[in-house]
């Protein structure tokens, strides 16, 4: 753990100072269960992600990647340590404020797309706006514009069942970006896609998602997309073993 902390905080492994970090985790510990059945999912993780950066979390199944992004996104509370999102410690916020913060500042892309089958592509993509109180008509219009920018112009009214896997994931990407979040968290965004489609989705994601004020954290097993990363954090057994700078 000590070694991992040392590696993560080396200046060469970050793109800016901790003050400017989009995500700043220090000594994050998270366990599931208790007593003999307790499983330590995170064993003191340190991590920094900076605006404009695409960081990939890689590692074997069960190494704690998903738990880490859940903590980063404020979905799970860590047992110990600290995790700041743009300087904000979500675990110290009241539940309703944390939920609101997540709704305004974080976008999600899931492995299984998680599009609502009865909603059109535009309606699915509009969900974060609706959650933030934007009226339906305006939300769908804005979502349709974003769908066009991910190459789904003319497919706004299609249901998920009428779209291919790649198209569905592009809808999910549009949904993750439609409310202009400051952090986008992706869980295995290409694992359900073939190589060509996966690359295409990643190109769109990198083009649209990464900018000066937005960071992207991607959990993946998919070595085909490693080339899109600015840095790759290799996790094992609940800790970051090393961080690989790809720039």
């Amino acid at each position: 753990m000590e070694q991992q902390r040392e590696v993560a905080t080396r200046p060469s492994m970050t793109t800016g100072g901790p003050k400017d970090a989009a995500v700043l985790c220090r000594g994050v510990i998270k366990s599931y269960g208790s007593g003999e059945t307790q499983v330590k999912a995170l064993r003191g993780v340190d991590l920094e992600v900076h605006p404009g950066e695409l960081l990939m979390l890689v590692g074997p199944s069960g190494c704690g990647k998903t738990t880490l992004i859940s903590v980063v996104a404020g979905i799970l509370d860590q047992d110990d340590g600290e995790c700041l999102l743009f300087g904000q410690n979500l675990s110290r916020l009241p539940q309703h404020e944390r939920v609101r913060y997540r709704g305004e500042h974080i976008g999600f892309v899931f492995q299984a797309f998680n599009l609502i089958p009865s909603l059109t592509a535009a309606e699915n993509a509009a969900i974060p706006l609706l959650i933030n109180g934007i009226p339906m008509e305006e939300a769908v219009t804005r979502a349709a514009l974003l769908l066009a920018s991910v190459g789904l112009e003319g497919r706004e009214h299609a249901l998920p069942s009428q779209l291919s896997g790649g198209q569905q994931q592009r809808v999910a990407v549009a949904r993750a970006l439609v409310h202009s979040p400051r952090l986008v968290v992706c869980d295995e965004p290409t694992s359900a896609l073939d190589q060509v489609t996966g690359i295409r989705v990643m190109e769109g994601l990198k083009k649209l998602a990464v900018n000066d004020d937005r960071a992207l954290v991607i959990v993946t097993h998919d070595a085909r997309i490693f080339s899109f990363a600015d840095r790759i954090a290799h996790m094992n057994d609940g800790a970051i073993e090393r961080i690989e700078n790809k720039r």
Partner: protein, 387 residues
């Protein structure tokens, strides 16, 4: 998010229709059965309601309800008239008589013999003819349901429809001629038999096998004393039972309630309706929520508050309740309209009944929604990351 909640609901057409069907069936059972029960209860005293002018009914002390006929001697009428506080008293015959139709079939009917002079106790609404036409020899007035139904002239050939009885037609009562001089509207009675009105004297002719003919003495109490007091005085002076119209209605109704298992039977069906409705609706709605649990988790992860999720589920529940109840109430009302035209018991759809059944349906959907809300609120948003 409300429109998203509704689209999710309508999108799963199978479950949506399943929930609606469950609520519709529950609504039908919970509206139709009590409606029919109320109608039957009303029918037990409908004759007392129809005879609105007198306010005290005098009868044999053993009479338990309106159709329980224990006739008196005609002389009792004079004793009642002599009681202080009685403004007037008139006789009423109420019995059953077979009516012979032109094809030889006989139909059991209610025969009412009204006071010859005043015709008190006659129908309030005449559709054809006049009440005073009962003064024509051999005349009778028939109620509308009987004239169009059981007393209608039989079809001349198989497959043809019976012709409703009309003024001028002749019936045969106890081998005696009865000329129809009017058609009247009367509330259905519990026995659902045709009602034939005639004069008291003529009723004695039609039912001449009976020694005692005076079924009821209809009394109008003077206004200067409570009618209950006068009724008690009649009982005291004559040893006959005397009840105000309201008391007699209640007595007839109580007889029905306490001497039959009607309340238990209908109540059981209503309870079954509620339980089945709650079980079916609750189960399907819960399954619907379980199927959508993943999406609720997505909403949670994306920042939907507990209140937003609660509202979404409540909206879905209330909507299916509203639609299911609307269809159920509409179907029951249509059924009631059809039954209203038949000779059987109708369905009394009072606003109180609709309100009560609506509340029961609301309770069902809210209970279902509460289970679902509990499940969704306990849901860990992190499940969205499980592939």
């Amino acid at each position: 998010m409300n429109s998203i909640a509704l689209k999710m609901l309508f999108g799963d057409r199978g479950k949506y229709l399943g929930i609606i069907t469950g609520i519709t069936l529950a609504s039908i059972l919970m509206i139709q059965q009590p409606g029919m029960l109320v109608s039957i209860f009303t029918m037990t005293y409908s004759f007392i309601t129809d005879v609105s002018l007198p306010n005290i009914w005098v009868m044999d002390a053993k009479v338990q309800q309106i159709d329980d006929s224990k006739p008196l001697l005609d002389t009792q009428l004079y004793r009642v008239r002599g009681v202080r506080g009685v403004e007037w008293a008139v006789p009423l015959y109420k019995g059953s008589q077979k009516v012979r139709l032109s094809n030889g079939e006989t139909v059991m009917s209610n025969l009412l013999g009204l006071d010859d002079a005043t015709l008190i106790g006659g129908p309030a609404v005449m559709i054809e003819g006049k009440l005073s036409d009962l003064r024509i020899p051999d005349s009778v007035i028939v109620d509308e349901a009987g004239a169009n139904g059981r007393l209608a002239k039989p079809a001349a050939a198989p497959g043809e429809r019976a012709t409703p009885l009309k003024v001028g037609d002749v019936l045969e009562l106890n081998e005696k001629r009865a000329l129809v001089v009017g058609i009247a509207r009367a509330q259905k009675t519990f026995q659902s038999q045709p009602i034939i009105y005639t004069t008291y004297t003529r009723a004695k002719v039609y039912a001449n096998s009976e020694r005692k003919m005076l079924t009821y003495i209809l009394v109008k109490a003077k206004d200067n004393e409570p009618r209950e007091t006068i009724a008690r005085r009649i009982t005291q002076n004559t040893r006959l039972a005397a009840w105000t119209a309201e008391e007699f209605k209640k007595k007839s109704l109580d007889y029905m309630i306490y001497n039959t298992s009607i309340i238990i039977n209908f109540g059981f069906v209503v309870l079954v309706g509620f339980v089945i409705g709650a079980a079916v609706t609750g189960q399907i709605f819960y399954n619907f929520t379980l199927d959508n649990l993943r999406y609720f988790a997505v909403f949670k992860a994306m920042g939907a508050t507990d209140q937003t999720l609660r509202k979404m589920i409540l909206l879905q529940a209330v909507l299916v309740g509203f639609v299911g109840y609307g269809i159920g109430a509409g179907a029951t009302a249509s059924f009631a309209a059809i039954m209203g035209n038949s000779n059987g018991p109708s369905i009394n759809l009072s606003w109180q009944l609709l309100l009560a059944s609506g509340c029961a349906i609301l309770l069902i959907v809210l209970m279902s929604a509460l289970f679902c809300i509990r499940k969704v609120l306990k849901l860990e948003a992190a499940v969205v990351f499980k592939g």
